[in-house]
Amino acid sequence: MHWDKERIQSILPHREPFLFVDEIIEIDGTKRVVAVKNIKDNESFFEGHFPGRPIMPGVLIIEAMAQTSIILYCVCKPEIGKTHPNYYLGKVKAEFLSPALPGNRLILEAYNVKIIDEAGVVDALARIDDRIVAKANFVFGIKRNE
């Protein structure tokens, strides 16, 4: 199962420069989604974080995992996903274990803990090869368009 950016953009409302999922490389039923963010040398956030010492900000790694979690939600709830509801984060618990740098291929994994129509709980991790960069737990809500 492979999704390109066009298909990702048909689900996610995010756009450049705030789209942090480049491709989906694996979908394991409704249990897990694996995505990729290729961290380019010229990402706009590297200009300030930090000059001469580029490191992907932790909050953006969280954002990348959260965007992957939305895709997992839409795999579980395709009929709701099609309506392009509003997704909002309720709670995030995260830990950061190692840096993500220009040129890295950031693998994002989202695991279904519990997903219902109005909300979701997802465990996620970000890694580069086998090196874990961050882990997180998300609680998010879905507000359907009237």
Binding site: G90, K91, V113, K114, I116, D117, E118, A119, G120, V121, V139, F140, G141
Partner: protein
């Protein structure tokens, strides 16, 4: 004297909804009386599923509205 499971459930719910155990009445409605929203509700469900290794079907969630109901409901699932 209440049994351990009831106390355990009360503590678990209390921690998630951030209401002290002593103020958590068995028949207080999660949504109307205790301010639980859909995000807190799914946190409670996920915490029960993880701790007791049970599955709470989505269709049943709206019917679990207070501490007494969640205690009885999950007690039943645990036996299965």
């Amino acid at each position: 004297m209440k049994n351990n499971y009831e106390e355990e459930v009360k503590t678990l719910v209390s921690e998630i909804i951030e209401i002290p155990v002593e103020k958590l009445m068995p028949d207080a409605d999660f949504f109307k009386d205790l301010g639980v929203d859909s995000l807190k509700a799914i946190e409670i469900v996920a915490a029960f599923e993880k701790k007791y290794r049970i599955i709470i079907p989505e269709r049943d969630i709206p019917n679990i509205r207070n501490l007494r109901q969640i205690t009885e409901y999950t007690k039943h699932l645990k036996k299965v």
